[in-house]
């Protein structure tokens, strides 16, 4: 509850701040005035003549009222007395004049300075007239001014007049800048700049609805501002008063833009209305008499103001809901356009007095505000991208660290598994070989000790040597690699040779013809060596004592053949008791096989191995 109340409080406060901002802008427009020019003489009275009617005294500034639309001229006569002729060039300065001015002094036409294509007499301008040195007389002087409206319904306006030397009447740079419509030139340049910026943005993001509406508004506004420059062909000049019928388009475009910025769904017909409304007004305008035309223009102006007003309300509502300050701030220039437009309508209708019409100036202000908003958005987006990049980099670093830790754990686990496997294999190998021999040595020794049939020392020695041989077999096969069968066989030969030498048996060994065998693991090599060991042991035990030949050769399909050949004992017969089943089982584990045959007095054990050993 407290949170909700606080949020409501913040919203109300935000609304008040925006209202204050808007009010400050209004006050600025209404209260701030151009600085009062200097001058030796200030004319604030004149005789005013409407058409053929006789002139009547009136105060300056003077604004037309109750004058029907269409061409019209009002004359102003100002009489004044100088004690003596100044003998210098003087200037006559009007801070604000609306409609075309023509002035004469003592019957001589006065030259208007700083008249440029940027001057827009119907919108209001500042006027500086040059008075030649010999024109002002000592005594009575007569100044005559004619304000002429060539078309339209905008009433004429004439401010006070200031007479003096140039330096004294135009005292500030502000006033200098207003001369010759320089303010309008500046506004147009700003317009152009904004339009180019918007086009650039839009060309890069054509699907963005904000940019679509904005570029439309910017281009249309620039085109409209261009029609104010006094360099257009004659026929354009003739239809110039009708350009005001384009104003409703701006109101509709502003509404579309505001809805796009506030992310509110926009009705499809809105963009058609942008074209259809002014077109309809044109069609109705052409055949109508001036009073109806004024009504049509006012209706168009009402649409224009309504569009801006609704747009500002849409933005303000979105600001209150979404809390995005940019929307609230943007609502202010929209509302300001509405306000200024309303003021200009009142001035045009003669209800309010003012020297200048300001709508053309504030339109650029809206575009400028939107452009600032877009720049802000761009900067925010870039910041977000930077932040996102930072975040991504951080996350990447974290993930890399995590991955590396994971990899390290996995590596340790794999190393542990390999160690476990090796340990298991060693246990198994030692159990199969060494342990069995040691147990048999114990059995032989005990039999010796208990005297129940003596075991010969030779038997014990033989068992011990076999145990040692087996241990060496295991050690020898520890570090073997994939194609290290020849190395394993060489190690076996190196241990076998002295053993046979001790027994007085010749060893005929050759592995020259052995083809390459792959898939050799320590376990696989140990199995091959154990088969050979058993074969040689059998040859020693059961042979006739002749030489033992161990040879390697190639079989079919790349198979490797190892033969152990010896002279058979006279009573030898193949079959049981030679551990043949054991050898056969071991050979099959490797994907090979053994055969044993006795022929021509020779016992031959053949071990065949595939070109690639199967993991035992």
């Amino acid at each position: 509850m407290t949170g909700e109340r606080a949020a409501t409080g913040v919203k109300v406060l935000s609304g008040l701040v925006l209202a204050a901002l808007f009010a400050a802008c209004i006050v600025a427009v209404e209260v701030l005035r151009l600085p009062e020019p200097g001058g030796q003489l200030v004319f604030d009275h004149a005789l005013v003549g409407f058409g053929d009617q006789p002139a009547r005294p009136a105060d300056l500034p003077h604004s037309w009222s109750r004058i029907p639309a269409g061409p019209f001229t009002v004359r102003y006569e100002i009489g004044f007395t100088l004690e003596e002729p100044p003998g210098r060039i003087f200037h006559l300065y009007f801070p604000a004049v609306r409609q075309e001015i023509a002035a004469s002094l003592n019957g001589e036409t006065l030259e208007q300075l700083f008249e440029t294509p940027w001057s827009a007499p119907a919108q209001g301008s500042t006027v500086l007239l040059r008075i030649p040195a010999d024109l002002l007389r000592g005594g009575a002087n007569q100044l005559e001014i004619a304000l002429t409206r060539s078309d339209g319904a905008i009433p004429g306006y004439l401010s006070k007049a200031h007479l003096g030397e140039a330096g004294s009447v135009v005292t500030t740079p502000w006033l200098s800048n207003m001369l010759g419509g320089q303010g309008r030139a500046t506004a147009f340049a700003l317009h152009l700049l904004i339009a180019v910026g918007l086009l650039t943005l839009w060309s890069a993001r054509r699907r963005d609805p904000v940019l679509q509406w904005l570029v439309l508004l910017g281009a249309a506004s620039l085109g409209y501002a261009a029609t104010d420059i006094n360099v257009l062909p004659e026929w354009v000049e003739r239809i110039r008063p009708m350009f005001v019928l384009l104003l409703p388009s701006f109101g509709l475009m502003a509404l579309g833009l505001a809805m796009a910025i506030a992310d509110v769904p926009r009705p499809v017909w809105l963009r058609y209305l942008v074209v259809l409304v002014p077109a309809a007004l044109f069609l109705a305008f052409l055949p109508s008499p001036p009073p109806i035309r004024l009504v049509l223009v006012m209706a168009g102006a009402a649409v224009a103001l309504g569009g801006h007003l609704i747009g500002s309300l849409v933005l303000f509502r979105a600001f209150m809901r979404q809390g995005r300050w940019e929307l609230g701030v943007l609502a202010v220039p929209f509302l300001l356009v509405t306000w200024i437009g309303l003021r200009d309508i009142l001035v045009t209708l003669g209800i309010r007095e003012a020297g200048f019409l300001l709508s053309n100036y504030v339109r650029s202000l809206t575009l400028l505000a939107v452009l600032v908003l877009l720049m802000h958005r761009l900067a925010t987006s870039l910041n977000r991208i930077d932040a996102a990049n930072d975040l991504l980099r951080r996350r990447l670093a974290e993930q890399e660290a995590e991955l590396s830790a994971l990899h390290e754990r996995e590596r340790q686990r794999a190393a542990h598994t390999v160690r476990e496997e090796e340990r298991r294999r060693l246990m198994h190998d030692l159990h199969d070989g060494l342990s069995g021999h040691l147990v048999s040595i114990i059995a032989l020794a005990e039999r010796d000790g208990q005297g129940s049939g003596r075991a010969s020392p030779d038997a014990i020695e033989r068992a011990a040597r076999e145990a040692l041989d087996d241990l060496r077999l295991v050690i020898n096969s520890l570090d073997l690699g994939d194609s290290d069968l020849p190395l394993a066989l060489a190690g076996f030969r190196e241990r076998l040779a002295p053993r046979l030498r001790r027994l007085g048996i010749d060893l005929d060994w050759s592995m020259d013809g052995l083809p390459e065998v792959s898939g050799v693991t320590p376990g696989g090599a140990l199995t091959v060596l154990r088969i050979l060991q058993e074969a040689v042991t059998n040859a020693i035990k059961h042979g006739a004592g002749g030489p033992i030949a161990v040879r390697g050769s190639a079989g079919d399909d790349g198979a490797a053949i190892l033969t152990v050949r010896n002279t058979a004992a006279a009573d030898a017969a193949p079959g049981t008791g030679h551990g043949l089943g054991n050898m056969q089982r071991r050979a099959r584990q490797l994907g090979g096989g053994t055969t044993f045959a006795i022929a021509d007095g020779e016992a031959v054990l053949t071990l065949s191995l595939p070109a690639r050993l199967v993991e035992p």
Binding site: I475, P486, L487, A490, G491, R493, P498, R502
Partner: protein, 227 residues
């Protein structure tokens, strides 16, 4: 320490070091029973061995490596320093390549299995004194691996300490590492079978020469990576 009597014959003067009593006695018996050798001392510790080396003009030290008060390698080094002309041989249960290579680099020229019978022991001593050294296929393979690693190392790293083998010596090492017998190797290389162990002795000498500093000795130990 069992002192033996000096004789004037041309027999090989031997110091035997083995901490296991029965084995020491067995080996001592074999040596004493052979007229080609005379046993100067049968030692059980490193201290006894060093004392014996200092005391006797010895021709051959036969030593175990793992001793109660130190390593037999120290005795071999002392022998190489004190009696440069003398030979050293290690006795080992398994004669695995780590043990044997350590001993060779310390100055040993041969090795012997502990369960050797008299004939094997006599053959081993005779070969060693005649300038022939044994080598197993697994030791040859480690040596080949180590030498090729050193050859690949950037020049200048240990160029001064790198043993440079002759092509013939490399052929022999490669052949033995591949599992050829001395006979097969001699046939292939067109040399006498008896020449093979002489080349191996030269290889031993080069390994010792390349291993004079302790630092390189340690580095070489670290280089013992399995094939």
């Amino acid at each position: 320490m069992d002192e033996s009597r000096q004789t004037d014959t041309g027999a090989v003067a031997v110091i035997l070091t083995e901490d296991d009593g029965p084995i020491r006695e067995r080996l001592a018996e074999i040596i004493e029973g052979w007229e080609g050798a005379r046993l100067l001392a049968a030692c059980a510790t490193l201290a006894e061995t060093l004392a014996a080396i200092a005391a006797h003009p010895v021709d051959l030290l036969i030593t175990d490596l793992r001793l109660p008060d130190g390593n037999g390698i120290e005795a071999i080094r002392t022998l190489a320093r004190e009696r440069p002309a003398a030979e050293a041989m290690v006795i080992s249960v398994l004669a695995d390549e780590r043990t044997v290579l350590d001993a060779i680099e310390a100055g040993a020229s041969g090795y012997l299995l502990k369960d050797a019978n008299p004939i094997e022991l006599v053959d081993a001593i005779t070969d060693l004194m005649a300038g022939r050294s044994p080598i197993s296929s697994s030791i040859a393979r480690v040596l080949v691996r180590r030498l090729s690693e050193r050859a690949e190392a950037p020049a200048g790293d240990d160029a001064g300490e790198r043993p440079s083998m002759t092509p013939r010596e490399m052929d022999i090492l490669w052949g033995i590492a591949k599992g050829f017998t001395y006979g097969e190797l001699a046939d292939r290389l067109g040399i006498s079978r008896q020449t093979v162990p002489v080349h191996i002795r030269n290889i031993y000498r080069k390994l010792q020469a390349s291993n004079r500093s302790e630092a390189v000795f340690e580095a070489a130990r670290l280089g013992l990576i399995k094939l």
